[in-house]
């Protein structure tokens, strides 16, 4: 036992507790409302299982795409001075503000068979994004990517750049510097950004249903299934959402402990 270390102030703990209760009470209320009795049946119904599988596949793909495209974009925004940089940054943030349904309309106008880009995709490659799982992933990436970019850009900005200089003076090419020095140093924020974008994709509803449609087994993710159940069988819908929550809780807690626990 070490003498030392200090206890945080009461006021602070009180305020933080209010914040925690603000999240805990609604979830408790939700749990109380859920139709636990029929949950086992509802869940093992092939539609629910299918929707859950699809949700995980699509949100994970969206998180992966967010990393793939978000890392270069965040790096560019944080490190390279170019004209219109703040405009690009604003553009990337817009899907955060856009009501998801409008986001879906925007995606339709761009990637549907008659959209600005979608028409070419269809004419040249026969690629149809609406009503396809790819479309769902696209819609989820559209709403998830901004979270990743914003988080990681902040991480890159607050990092000590002299480590990168040290690495390059040791002979490391820019990509090696990025991979072996920058990335490990900002890992906590990359993990945070990935978790954020994964979670946002998992819960995404409006843009998906508008752009990709709601076809069981192909584009009907769990939030879509929940939404439909909400109209007719709200108890079942609540139970399904709680399952969604449980799954994401396991993933998020597991991931964060793994990556952030040590620090």
């Amino acid at each position: 036992m070490t003498s030392g270390g200090r206890r945080p102030s009461i006021v602070l703990i009180a305020v933080a507790s209010v914040a925690v209760l603000f999240f805990a009470v609604p979830l408790a209320g939700l749990a109380r409302r859920a139709a636990w009795g029929s949950l086992a049946d509802d869940l093992t119904s092939s539609e629910a299982m299918e929707a859950m599988r699809l949700s995980l596949v699509c949100s994970t793909s969206a998180a992966a795409l967010s990393i793939a495209f978000g890392l270069p974009l965040a790096w560019l925004l944080a490190r390279v001075e170019f004209p219109g940089r703040s405009l690009v940054r604003g553009l990337v943030l817009l899907p955060l503000v856009l009501p998801p349904v409008v986001g879906g309309v925007a995606l339709l106008s761009a990637f549907s068979r008659r959209g600005l880009v979608g028409s070419h995709l269809y004419d040249w490659f026969g690629l149809q994004l609406t009503f396809s799982t790819t479309g769902t992933i696209l819609a989820e990436t559209f709403v998830a990517l901004p979270f990743f970019v914003v988080t990681v850009e902040a991480g890159l900005r607050s990092m000590d750049r002299r480590y990168e200089e040290a690495a390059s003076s040791l002979g490391a090419r820019p990509f090696t510097v990025f991979r072996r020095v920058t990335l490990p140093l900002i890992l906590p924020t990359v993990v945070a950004g990935t978790v954020l974008s994964w979670a946002r994709a998992l819960g995404e509803f409006g843009a998906t249903i508008t752009f990709a449609g709601n076809i069981a087994g192909r584009t009907q993710t769990l939030p879509l299934a929940v939404y439909l159940e909400l109209e007719s069988r709200p108890d079942v819908a609540v139970a399904l959402s709680l399952v969604l929550l449980a799954v994401s809780l396991v993933v998020i807690v597991g991931l964060r402990e793994r990556w952030l626990g040590a620090s």
Partner: protein
């Protein structure tokens, strides 16, 4: 493998404007007061900072040339650097830190680790190979940084105060070790240091940088024999006075005159070593040609000697034994007579 630097660039409040060469196998010490631009100059050579005008080249190979718009990226320069504040990668172990440069230059994992281990052993940290930099003390970190820069066997070695954080015991050993490496090293070495001992022990030549300008350059011997600025004199612990020579006498700018053995004409610098200054309680008789009244300003104990700062015409520092302090009753404010033999005074044109 001659490194040729000739450049001009603005660094914050400083106008850095320097030209010098470092030949193959040569070690040049870059000394100068805080904020003189030493670190900035190393950054220019390493490619971490651009220049506004000028050229840095290595034999025929241009590293940067403003007139041709050439700029070689830092990672493509055969330059190894020990940074002033270590900059060890906090997420890598000591071994991985030292192996980093080797791996970056395409050497295989196993070979890189072998070479890195040898270097870690050489700086006496074999038992810390698996430790993370945060577990190291300041001095241990510095030694790892040294090993990391040396491991890649660069053509040009840049050392930004590589020994500053080492304790005296380790410092002497590391200095010896560093010197043996520098002797075997056939590239050009540029060493920033604050410690004249480092410069004396390690460097062939000295470049003195003050406020972005080179104020003196030459071999250690030349600089020690004929310091040209108050900074260098203070660094060497000697008295440097400026004046106007006419024959065997120099009229000092700060007042008073000094008799010198060898005649000098026109603007001159006068060098008096503190050990040559003798102090007396009463007006001394004898052969010493220079003799003046002074007041004791302050006393500094240096080992078994005491440095006495005197104000008078001229103001000088004298070095006496601890015993003399008691005998002469040297306390701050005491009045004493100082004498220096003309043969102990060196004068040369400024």
């Amino acid at each position: 493998m001659t490194l040729t630097v000739s450049c001009r660039t603005v660094v914050g409040p400083l106008d850095l404007d320097v030209s010098f060469e470092v030949a193959r196998g040569e070690v040049v010490a870059l000394i100068g007061p805080n904020g003189a631009g030493k670190t900035s100059l190393l950054r220019v050579v390493a490619g971490l900072r651009g220049v506004e005008e000028g050229r840095v080249s290595l034999d025929g190979d241009v590293l940067v040339d403003s007139s041709e718009g050439m700029f070689v990226a830092p990672e493509a320069r055969p330059v190894g650097t020990v940074f002033q504040d270590y900059l060890l990668f906090p997420h890598l172990s000591v071994l991985e830190n030292v192996a980093f440069g080797l791996r970056s230059r395409g050497i295989g994992r196993r070979e890189a680790r072998t070479i890195a281990s040898a270097w870690i052993e050489r700086v006496g940290l074999a038992s810390y190979a698996a430790a993370k930099p945060t577990e190291l003390s300041g001095g241990q970190s510095q030694r790892v940084a040294l090993a990391r820069a040396l491991a890649v066997d660069p053509d040009v070695l840049l050392l930004d105060e590589p020994l500053a954080a080492l304790d005296a015991a380790t410092r002497a050993a590391t200095r010896r070790d560093l010197r043996s490496h520098l002797e075997r090293f056939d590239g050009a070495t540029l060493l920033v240091t604050h410690d004249p001992l480092d410069a004396l022990a390690l460097a062939d030549r000295v470049v003195v940088l003050e406020a972005g300008q080179v104020t003196q350059a030459g071999t250690i011997g030349e600089v020690v024999a004929r310091p040209r600025t108050p900074y260098v004199a203070e660094l060497l612990g000697v008295n440097l006075l400026r004046g106007e020579g006419s024959g065997h006498e120099v009229r000092l700018d700060g007042g008073g005159t000094v008799a010198v053995a060898d005649p000098v004409e026109g603007p001159a610098l006068v060098l008096i070593r503190p050990r040559s200054v003798t102090l007396h309680h009463d007006r001394p008789e004898g052969s010493a040609r220079n003799r003046w009244r002074s007041t004791v300003d302050s006393l500094d104990l240096m080992g078994d000697r005491v440095r006495v700062r005197l104000s008078g015409e001229p103001c000088v520092v004298a070095e006496v034994t601890t015993g003399a302090v008691g005998e002469l009753g040297l306390v701050e404010g005491a009045e004493v007579w100082a004498t220096v033999k003309a043969t102990d005074v060196t004068a040369y044109p400024s």
